[in-house]
Symmetry: C2
Subunit: 470 residues, 2 copies
């Protein structure tokens, strides 16, 4: 499988004088070693690596500002990198340039439990953040599965499990420090919970995938750790029954914290990978947060709804270590699925539809993928109307790649026809740029392109991603 | 008091041929009558009316698109109008042009209780919406007090009571239909609950005050009507005690639905206006939503916290008509305060600070305003860290206006020094453009200006508001 040919043509070698200036400024923190470049030119997408020409390890906002200024002076592309867990080719250096690795910017800068906020550098990962604030009694709920950096999660407008109750990065970022295209450092907002002061720059940078500026610091909302937490699994005779249970739960307004679907094939993969011994039937994983009384009340309501749809009795995981085992298995489901077909990569779909259309959307998708010669296990954040189909294909086999893309296109078309989106949480990257136009229409995407041109007139910030410029 | 002189200089008479074309297209729905223009050139701010040259009553998105196209062809300003309840001079036609009145676009277009969404035309008011969806068992919580249009609430990123639990317009708008600068109609998003598909145009238009496009249709989140609702009032020996009760309640994570402060002077005004007979002491108004058990649990927790801070016993309003009387009185507090000083207008501040700084911010504000010769009752959405000081001044008395503005500037400076915002929910309009720069810095405001130029290159959309262009 090749990276998109229309964009690799953009690639020009770095000017020698630029590289000299870069090395003079960053010394050993600038690398052009092949292994380092290779590592920074890939993500979890099925695209092959497309390395940058150099990698700079930033340690401060000032570092990033100096780098962006230098890149602007020489019109060299610059791409921000966290841990490389993105899924749509976001990080591929299709026009060459410099990758700025933010993983050394990993300090929790301020913890303000009295305001329910924390401020972190972009390279802090979500697990690190939760470890560091655990003693305060607060936690940061957004959990995309991968131990992504907070900066990366801002860039893709990530969500994952827990979003059904706590929202996505869209709702949980209060303020950002951003290095804009000319190397100017701005702060998008103060730390007040709400504001009507001008255009919502915060929300504009959340989900902009490094194409409008490089986020270096983030102020986030945090939440009091719930007094009580219970997790339960519930097996169903069909995916349809599981999804209908979910829909009824959401429509009733039960404030569930997590509601995850695994189809029978995913359960099988997870069993093999994590030795869970779950019944190989469609499964919902629930988590309930609240006071002990409220958790009991929620669980009883949902168990009742599940029974009405043919669900079995809940299996409880109330102890932290049991819960942790269960959620680790859920988070490893992606890797577990990869092992269903050795040598395969996953072409992971990410559609999200209004909850009333979810049973129909998943049902038709299962009918469709059942006819394919590729395995396509389904899992997802069904409480939000979001699910993933992990289409397993050998990236070196054009027939398999074509089939994976064909299924992907059909799943996206189906979701769009149901007033849904092509991506609930992974972003556009390289891979969904055509879908973006199908979803929003050319006039809306042209507004996005105007914003890109206005904020990045030299087109050096992760060029060739999200929107096509004329 | 005069409208800002720097901008009235922009005013040019409408070209006759333009007016002819306008009248040919809209017939009787285009008015140049003085009374109609006068009505559309004012809001609830202390600025004197600054009427547009003509008013067009739109009945559809197509009407608005045709108008904007015509205005673009002739480079004539166009200002959207709902009910005129904005507070910062948003609607004043400082550069002349056409006001487009959206009040006839008052249809609820779609109710999707199964998805917890509704789609409305921009001229639907929040009370109308809740009346029309009452039978479905759902409600729309955002409540800025005034019976504003949903379009106006989008434009100012409104919030008000209930935001402490349900969020603001930022969190509750799912998708918008917008007429962009050249008269092109775009839809910013699908109806999925979350999406990572490109730049967040929805959030960019929310809070843009008609300067980037004219919002004609809105898809909103709605919520199941709570099984149980209870409201209570609680009197305190001091504002400080009331605020500290609020802070402790928020920090504990109690999901209160409303938490409103009235200082003793506001209580006095409300008593006189709404005949409530409340003790003339600082007061908190609470509302609790949830299951009967959860409402009981929340109320007990908050009563306990209040007692620890010297609060009196709760007075309950559990019956709908008692609650309605209480909240109507709260919503009329602004008008009640105006009556404290006949002939006065209110210079209403709107700062919002991180909750941990709220007691300090309100405390210093009270010390400050106590030294002034102007009355300045305080009320606010303290659960969000947001409060208003209704500084009462005669707009025709330069000494009073100067004093009101002096107090206003000091309150804003205090909030900014505490990492807060100059406006929690009213917006920038004409009146806070300098504060916007103080709050965000020139580089961030320059990014906003770039966005304005990119999306409205002719500068015809509510020109002269929010950001200054060079």
């Amino acid at each position: 499988m090749n990276a998109p040919t229309s964009t690799t043509a953009l690639r020009k070698p770095l000017p020698t004088a630029f590289l000299t200036a870069l090395q003079a400024h960053f010394g050993e923190r600038c690398s052009t070693a092949a292994a380092v470049r290779e590592h920074h030119g890939r993500d979890e997408s099925p695209f092959p690596p497309t390395p940058p020409d150099a990698v700079v390890f930033a340690q401060s906002t000032e570092d990033v500002a100096a780098l962006v200024k230098l890149c602007a002076d020489w019109r060299v592309p610059v791409i921000a990198f966290g841990v490389g867990s993105s899924l749509e080719g976001h990080l591929l250096a299709i026009a060459g340039g410099v990758c700025v690795d933010l993983s050394q910017m990993n300090k929790v800068l301020a913890v303000n439990p009295e305001d329910l906020t924390v401020t972190v550098q972009a390279g802090v990962t979500r697990k690190q953040l939760n470890d560091e604030i655990k003693h305060t009694g607060f936690f940061f709920p957004i959990d995309p599965g991968a131990d992504a950096t907070i900066g990366g999660m801002v860039a893709t407008r990530a969500s994952g499990t827990n979003a059904v109750r706590y929202g996505t990065m869209r709702e949980n970022v209060l303020a950002l420090t951003v290095v804009a295209a000319e190397g100017k450092v701005i702060r998008t907002s103060r730390r007040a919970k709400k504001s009507s002061a001008g255009y919502d720059l915060t929300r504009l940078f959340v989900g902009s995938e490094g194409t409008l500026g490089i986020v270096t610091e983030i102020t986030l909302k945090v939440y009091p750790q719930p007094e009580a937490i219970s997790a339960a699994t519930c097996s169903f005779p069909s995916v349809d029954a599981a999804v209908k249970t979910t829909i009824a739960t959401i429509q009733l307004g039960v404030p569930i914290a997590r509601c995850e679907l695994l189809d029978a094939l995913t359960v099988k993969a997870v069993n093999a990978h994590s030795k869970l011994g779950l019944p190989e039937l469609p499964l919902l994983l629930f988590e309930f947060h609240g006071s002990p009384a409220s958790v009991r009340e929620q669980a009883e309501t949902v168990q009742q709804i599940a029974r009405e749809h043919g669900g079995q009795d809940f299996h409880w995981a109330t102890k932290p270590e049991e819960r942790s085992r269960l959620w680790t298995a859920r988070h490893n489901a992606y890797f577990a699925c990869l092992q269903l077909k050795p040598g395969a990569r996953s072409f992971t779909t990410d559609v999200c539809v209004p909850i009333s259309r979810l049973a129909e959307c998943i049902g038709e998708t299962i009918e469709d993928t059942a006819q394919s010669f590729l395995p396509a296990p389904i899992l997802g954040h069904v409480g939000d109307g979001n699910f993933h189909c992990a289409i397993l294909a050998n990236p070196d086999d054009p027939k398999e790649v074509d089939e994976a893309e064909r299924l992907n296109r059909r799943i996206v078309a189906r979701a769009l026809a149901m007033d849904g989106t092509c991506t609930g949480e992974h972003g556009i990257g390289l891979h969904k740029m055509d879908f973006l136009v199908e979803e929003h229409g050319t006039d809306a995407v042209e507004l996005m392109a105007r914003i890109k041109r206005a904020l990045d007139p030299l087109n050096i910030l992760n060029p060739g991603k999200v929107v096509r410029l004329q």
